[in-house]
Structures are given as C-alpha cells and as structure tokens.
Symmetry: C2
Subunit: 578 residues, 2 copies
C-alpha cells in the first residue's frame, strides 16, 4: 500500500496515512507541488514553522522503467520565496517507491532546536536524536550512518549549510556506492530540512518490491520500447555516456553562449581545458571511471568517477553546470580544482550553480580576481567553516550582490542563472524568466532545440519561436518530473515519437488508466498552474518573470546580442487557459 509518512518535528510524532484523495494520480513534482499548494500558506517564512518539506518518488518510481528513479523534493523556497521542486538521482527514489511510500512530509520545527534523523524501512519508521552528526559534512555523516545502518541503505542528508539554513543549501542523496554525490540542489531545500532539525533520512530497502502494476505485460512492452529509444538516440547513447554532461562545454562555447566571468562574454578562452573531451581523456589516463550511472535503473550512465593524479577518488564527474559555474564563469580552467570544489560543495551541501554564481558576483565586487582557482578553494573552505564570509557566499548570488554592492547579478526570482547565456540561447532565457522555480534550465531545456537541433530547430539568437518552445517544454517537463524520469529522456522524447508514447503507455499500464498524450500534457500544465498560483499567493507578479535588466542592455560577445523577447510574450508562456 502506497503511503504518506507525516513527520511533525514540533512534537516529534510520525504518522502514516493513505494517499489523500486529492493527491491521487500524482507523484514527484506534481505531488510535492500539490501538497504545497494545498497545505502551505504561501506567505509563511520558508524556514519557519509553517513551511513543509516533501520527498516524493515519481509516478513510475519503483518499476523497471529505465531512468525512473528520480526523487522530487519540494517546499517553499528560502531562496526564491516561491514554490520549489528540485529532483535528484541516487537510490532514495527507487527505494521509497519500492517500500510503498508515496511521500514523506516534514512539518513543524523542533522545540529543542536539536538534530534528528528518520529511519524508514518496510512498514516501519523511527525518529531519533542525531546530535552526534551536528556540524558534519555529508561525506562524514554518511560514513557515520553507514557504520550504524549498513551500506545497503539509501541516505538523504544535509551538510553544514543546511544546518545553518543557508539559502544555497542542498539536500544530498547517496548513489549506488553510498556516496552523497547526488543533490536536489536548487532553491535552498537543505535549509528547510535544517530548519526542521532533520539531519538525515535512512531508507532500508529490505523487503521492498517492484511497485504494483495493473497490466504487467503492457508495462513491460512499453518499458522495452522506451529503453530502446534511450539506447538509440545519439545524445543518450553516445554523447552523454562518453563525455558526461560536460560535453556541453565545447558545444555551448562554440555557440557563443558559455557565460564567462559573471556573464560578461559568451566564449571562454580556456574552454577546451575543462571540456567533456578533456574530462574523459584525463579520467582514462588516470584510470578513473568514465561511465557511471547515478542511480539504479539508469541506462544512460552519463556520470563518471573523477580521480586525482594519483588515482584517488575526488568526486563524481562534475556536471556541465558545475564545471561552468566554477570554470568559465569564474575564469578558471583547471579541472582538478573544479573537481575538488565540486567535492567540497557536495560535502558542505550547497548548490554548485548558486554558489558558483555567488563567487563570480563576489569576484566582480572585487573579493578575488577572476581566474584565481586557489582563491576560490579558500572561499569554499570559508563556506564549510560557516564564517561570516562563508555564510554570505552560501546564501546565494542575489545576497552576495547586496553585500558586495554589485548590480550585475544574474538571478531570476533571486535564483542564479545556470550555464547558458540567455542572450545567445534565447529559448532557455524564456524558461529562466518564466519558470515558477526561478532561473532553472531543467524546467524547460530549450537548449536542446536552440543549439542541438533536438526536436526541431529554433534559431538561438532570434526571439521568434522561443516562447512557444519554452512553453511546450515546460509543460512536458512538469510531467517528466511528475513521472520521476530523468530529464535526459527528453532528448529521445523530442525526436522519437514512440518514446513519449511509451511513457504514456507505462503510466496507463501501471495505474489502469487510459491517458492520451494530450492528457499527460494537460497534467504538466496543471502542475505548472498550481505552482504559478502558489507564487501569485506568495506575492509574485508578472514582473518576477523577467531577466535582470543588464541582459537587455549589455550586448554579449561574440554575437553582440541582447535578450529581446518582449515582456508581453513572456507573460503568455504559462498562460495556458487563454
């Protein structure tokens, strides 16, 4: 029986309940957003007693569907002040789904201000003190928990940044080998977990089983068609497995959209040194692992293991956005330094996109010189120590701009922009501006069509066609996030019609439904509608759906373009009713 687990930190009670009727048919992002929309007052303090933190596997979680093990985390965001869902790989999504748990809902604040941990097993749970984990990073936390609970468990945890309730704090999830390298990074969800005094969740998968499926035969056939599409599309079968997401460095640099030195150029002279090709090459030379899946059931395996010159583990392969954030955007071309910084961010528990932007903005404010890799490593150490400077940086780019008096601050809804300059990749600029999540490439990855010609062609430098592109991508992405699928399935979905049909067929077969593609799109739009409405009730207006002014006034080399999608067009992106 799929269940909700409700943990009330105010009285340290844990209760289970059947899935409330109004949430049926939802999972992942659809479920976290629906619970927030119904149960959380949008004007509440994000780190106060009235916010809730929700963990939910997707609709296809717990099945044999490839790449279906993502876990959504939702809350009112301490960073944006709006609704937030961030999802992650790692083992927790599949484990929870196989234990029959549809959602863990964290409520209230602990009266004693102390730390706790939640253990969840088959039909069992226990909330217990965790003061011994206080002040530990994610790596040390997991080491400690593994001693107690064994290596089979899946772990969810926060590092020091979450304990300190910093708006850049992430929630960490362990990968197949038990390393806390997968993160629900964006929007400060780790701060919400920290405010609630929950240091970790331990999920014992023992006794878990494949989720119940109404029509197993139909499901398995559709799952095979889906896996076939993933294994046929060149992006998911060749590019990502070989070079990781970092393959994008050379591609986006060539397109002139690689934000360099706090979004002041679209090309970085040191791009080749931090590219996916170089990452792959040095990993092979050092006998690291260039092909690694971040969660069970992944057939893309875009990750890898980064080892140092002595062959010692440093981190998982840093993602493209991480390499960009610490590389080109800080003027740094040293992959080893970037991997160490990535490891430190995973350990402290901060979002690399947010904190990388924060450091770049601080560099513009004169704190360090662009290109000073050793200086950045010192700054990350400050974050880990929780010094005042570290807390500033851990609070994100918007706050850094205020503290250091910088007015070129690349944020939307106070969330920092990812690794694609919106002046040279205008479709993703539309997504940054209009997503209820704040600036988020994963909310509608128009880069695919703008730059890679996946799903058609829309000129990245022109404003025409971007609104339609972002609009349709945001809707289908809201569904993909609701299904619990890895976003990279979007590449085959956009090019191979049967890939999307197979997903719909799997949902129908699992739940005994007769949804069409249109229905599924409608579900995505419904989720977006709930999210936009939450934000409206939190005080957001259409003016929050705008890029910072400098993207409209400063030309970006080398194309010397500005972001010029009209405001009225931005207002139409998620206006599905009219």
């Amino acid at each position: 029986m799929f269940q909700f687990i409700r943990v009330n930190m105010a009285d340290l009670s844990v209760k289970t309940e059947d899935i409330p009727k109004e949430y049926e048919g939802l999972g992942g992002r659809g479920l976290t957003s629906a619970i927030l929309a119904k149960e959380v007052e949008p004007t509440c303090s994000a780190i106060g007693p009235n916010n809730k933190l929700i963990f939910a596997p997707g609709l296809l979680g717990g099945t044999n569907c490839a790449n279906s093990g993502r876990i959504s985390v939702g809350a009112k965001s301490p960073l944006t002040g709006g609704i937030k869902e961030a999802n992650s790989g790692g083992q927790a999504g599949q484990y929870l789904a196989r234990l029959g748990i549809a959602a863990i809902v964290l409520e209230g604040l602990p009266q004693d201000g102390k730390l706790y941990k939640l253990w969840v097993g088959k039909d069992k749970y226990e909330l217990s003190p965790a003061e011994d984990l206080k002040g530990l990073g994610n790596y040390a936390t997991i080491d400690r928990l593994r001693e107690q609970f064994g290596g089979k468990a899946g772990f969810i945890s926060i590092g020091q940044a979450g304990e300190w309730k910093l708006a850049g704090a992430s929630v960490a999830f362990t990968d197949k080998e038990g390393r806390p390298t997968r993160h629900a990074g964006r929007g400060g969800l780790g701060a919400v977990m920290g405010s609630k005094g929950l240091k970790a969740i331990i999920i014992d998968p023992t006794g878990g089983e494949i989720a119940p499926i109404k029509d197993k035969e139909a499901f398995n056939q559709a799952a095979k068609r889906f896996a076939k599409a993933l294994q046929e599309h060149p992006v998911t079968s060749q590019g990502l497995p070989t070079y990781g997401t970092d393959i994008l460095i050379n591609i986006i640099n060539e397109a002139g959209g690689l934000p360099t030195r706090n979004f002041s150029s679209g090309r970085f002279e040191g791009a080749d040194k931090v590219s996916g090709e170089t990452l792959n090459k040095i990993t092979a030379e050092r006998k690291g692992n260039p092909t690694h899946g971040c969660m069970s059931g992944c057939v893309i395996r875009c990750s890898g293991i980064f080892v140092d010159k002595n062959g010692q583990y440093v981190s998982k392969w840093p993602e493209y956005e991480t390499v960009w954030a610490w590389g080109p955007n800080c003027g740094i071309d040293d992959l080893d330094a970037i991997a160490r910084i990535d490891r430190a961010c995973d350990d402290i528990g901060v979002d690399t996109i947010e904190i990388g932007n924060a450091v770049a903005v601080a560099m513009e404010g004169g704190l360090k010189a662009f290109g000073d890799a050793a200086g950045v490593e010192e700054l990350i150490a400050e974050v880990g120590k929780g010094t005042p400077l570290g807390r500033i940086l851990g609070s994100g780019a918007g706050l850094v701009g205020k503290v250091f008096g910088v007015h070129r601050v690349p944020v939307v809804k106070n969330q920092a922009l990812p690794a694609y300059d919106p002046r040279a990749v205008k479709g993703v600029g539309v997504t940054y501006a209009t997503s209820p999540m704040g600036a988020d490439h994963t909310a509608g990855y128009a880069v695919a069509t703008n730059i890679m010609n996946v799903g058609g062609q829309v000129d990245p430098l022109k404003s025409e066609g971007q609104v339609e592109l972002s609009s349709s991508l945001q809707a289908v992405t809201a569904f993909i996030d609701t299904a619990g699928l890895c976003l990279f399935v979007a590449f085959p979905v956009m090019d191979i019609p049967d890939a999307f049909a197979a997903i719909v067929d799997m949902v129908n077969a699992k739940y005994g439904l007769n949804l069409t593609s249109d229905d599924v799109n409608t579900l995505g739009k419904r989720v977006l509608g709930m999210e936009k409405d939450f934000n409206r009730r939190a005080g957001f207006t259409s003016l929050d759906d705008r890029l910072p002014e400098f993207f409209r006034t400063e030309k970006l080399p080398p194309h010397n373009t500005v972001f010029d999608v009209p405001d009225a067009d931005l207002d139409s992106v998620l206006d599905f009713d009219s």
Copy 2:
C-alpha cells in the same frame, strides 16, 4: 530663480534647468517622489545606472516659517526595492532653498568607479574628484572638507557604508555646528549615493536669500500663528525640548509597546536607565547641552549634546528610536554605550533603526548574547571596517535573518520596524504595513493618538479605528514632508486647528495660491498615490502590505495581544479613490 541641478555621473556633466512644468507646486517628498515616478523605471537595479538620487527642500523651505528646513532625499531603495523618501534636519535644506535650488538630481554611474564631490554656491556649481576622501567616515570627511571650504558651508556626505553600497547606508547632513549628526537614514539612500560615486555635496550659502514670497504680510502673520502653536503645545514646548525624543522610552514602556530583545516583549526592565529623564539628568550633571536645535529655524529644539563622563563630546543626543534600537531591543541599558554606538553609526553612515534591528536579529541567531554592550560595540567596529560580518550587519535586518537562519525578522518590505511594537500600538502597525516606504513610524505616527491622546483617542490594543487613523495621518504626513516641515509640527497640528490653517495660509501666501485644507490633504494623497503606483510597477502587491507572520501568531507580553487588523482593512488604508 528656483532651479533643478542635474548631475550626470556617467559623463560628469552638470546642468541646470527651470523646474519642469509637471513638477510645479511640489517640493520635498512630493517632488522626489514625482521625479522618481516619472523618470525612473521601477524595476531597475537600485545601485545600477538607471536609478536617480534626488535632494529637495520643501515647499516652505527658505522662508522664516519655523521648522521648515527639512530636506527630502529620494531614490528607488536598495533596501526595499520600492520608492523611498527619507528626510533630515541639518542646514542643507534651508541653504539650498535660499540659493534658489528646488532639486539636485543625480543620475548615471561614473565610468571610472572613482569618488567625486559636488560644490554648489549662488548660481555656481562644480563637480570635482574626491578620491582623497575615500574610506573616510562622515566626521573625518567633514573635517577635511571644512578645511577646504570653510565652516560656513552645509555638508551632505556618505560614510564608508555608502561607499560600499550597503542597504543600511544613510546620507549625512551637518547641523548648525557642522557635525554630521543628522541623517536621511532609512532605506539605504547612502548606497545609492555611493553607487553614483558622490562622496559629498558642499553647499555654500553665501548670497542666498529668503525665498520669494508673493504676499509677505500674509505669510508673516501665518508664520507667527504657526510658531505660537508650536510654543503652546505641551509636547513641542515642554516634553521634547526638555527630554528629547527619548522621553518616549518610559511612555512606550509603560504602554507595554517597547520592543525588547528582538520584539519578544513589550517591556524592558532596564528602561529607566536609558530614558529621556536619565538622559537629561546625566547631561546636566556632565554639563552637556540638553536643548539643541538640529537646524536653523527650529523652535522645538528637541536635540541635545551628549558628553561623556569627562565632559567630552560624544554625539548629539541619540533619538528615541536609536536608544531603543541599541538599548531595549538588544537588551542593553547603558546610555554611554548607546551614545558611542550612535556616534559610530553617524560616522560610518548607517541607519540606527535598521542596523540596530540587524544586530538584534543576529543576537537571536546566536551571534552575541542580548545585553552584551561591549559585544555590540565590537560589531559596530566590524561594520566600520567593512569586514564580511560588518557588511552583513550593514545590509539590514532582513539580510541578517537570511545569513543567520532566523525566521523572526521584524521587517516590512524588507525595512526594519521602528521602536513601537505593532501588537501593542496597532495604529502604527497599520502604518508599518501599508506605507509605501516599508516599516516607518514617521509615515503616519499613530503613536500620538494611540498612546499620547494627541488628536483624539484610539485604543492602542484594539484593531478598531486604526485604519482610519493611519490613513488620515499618512495623507497629512505626505503633505508635511512635501512642505519641508519637521514631523513634530504634527503634534500641534493634530490638536490646534489653527496650526494646520497657518501652514496652508503660508503655502498660499508664498505661492499666490488659494488652497484649502482639503486641497492640501488631496496633495498628500496624490503623493501617496504616485508612491504606491511606483511600487506596483516595481512588483509590489497587497501581500507586501503585511506584517511578518509572527506578529499575528506570537502574543506580546505584558498585554498578550497579537496584531489582528484584518488584511482587507489594510488594503483599504491608502485606497483613497474608492
């Protein structure tokens, strides 16, 4: 001829122009808000190139009218993100008005990032480098400028906080003796001045003359009636001159509305030690000056000179809100420490209300213990040095809450609440919530009626009547701020009908008009309407017109009341059209 001086820092040009037609009939706040509403895009970066900083004496500036020398400073606020006017005493208002200058409008950002100063005399001006003043506090800045320009000039300057563009930075104005003790404190206007690279304005009054008056006889008669009212009302003739604004400590403490230890109680056990009575007593004992006017033409003289145990000058008498911010709200009962902190804040150039709240929030976050006066003096030193911790504190209470993970943060529109708890003085709570300026007691001082029975009686603990009270006070205050009058004239104005009539008569006599009291009220409403509209265009909604949630949920001792004015009533406060 009254003139506008426009300074464009981008090309270092200075131009004069006649008062543009659309701004005629406006002065002070009415003028700064009208210019902002027309000329500044409300979504711009407050410290970016498109904001403007405006200085304007009031409609009655440059005359013999008592207490008419206030100067308004306006800009988009780096603290609130909305429109901002803060006004100050000191000499600059009268001097500018007598030189025939209706407004100084600062535009653009300097290309070279360097510091400049503006000298203004009779029909002359000069913009020149001021790099030699870089990093100096206001006291040292004025010492240096006085050597160069002589002691007769009026000075406007920023301290280090303004140079660093901190959102708590003030703009300083020199008093009659040339001390930088009067500040346009609220909303971070010093940061806007700093962003524009203007360290100081020097106003040479030589050749200035009484502003032209159409009907001198009528004016002089009305001015006499007005001065008489000021000299008759007990608040302006006895309470304020004798004890300063700090007379309010015992009054507000008795009323149970003195916010103590970050708004957790309405009574402070050490109130007597920091009261106006004690301030008066130790000033007399130490042979300081207990009665001092902050500007020429003041007949109230509520200020004083605070000297230490050796009779040495420390600061002007700290205002009630300053004593409160560093005293009860930080749990401190040491007037000497408070005066030193006040002096340091004047020197660094920060708003004592904002930074006092920032420190109290940091204390709640564990940075220092409540009551640790030495610790607070250390923190102020950090602000002056511009360390990361100092910059955090100098950025205001809202930002401190984010950095230190505190959810009880007393701000409206991100501006910190002044010295009256809105749960025990509900009329001022309505003003805090609804003023376009953010939490600001001066925008509609309902304390007068709630606590002192000036202008009638409205029970401070009940929600009834507060909306009407705040609404009418905000309108008349917008006019008083437009006239350039000290807000304390409101005490006689509220109790003595002829005092208000005299003000209207003076405006009519000066400009040859036939305004009625109603017209003047309409002008105040028009100013508020422009301000609200600016904020709407900056993205504000009715949800920004709310107190933080804890004022509605946490009961305030000793009355154990919460703020319970209904939201719908708050929405009606400035809705003058319906």
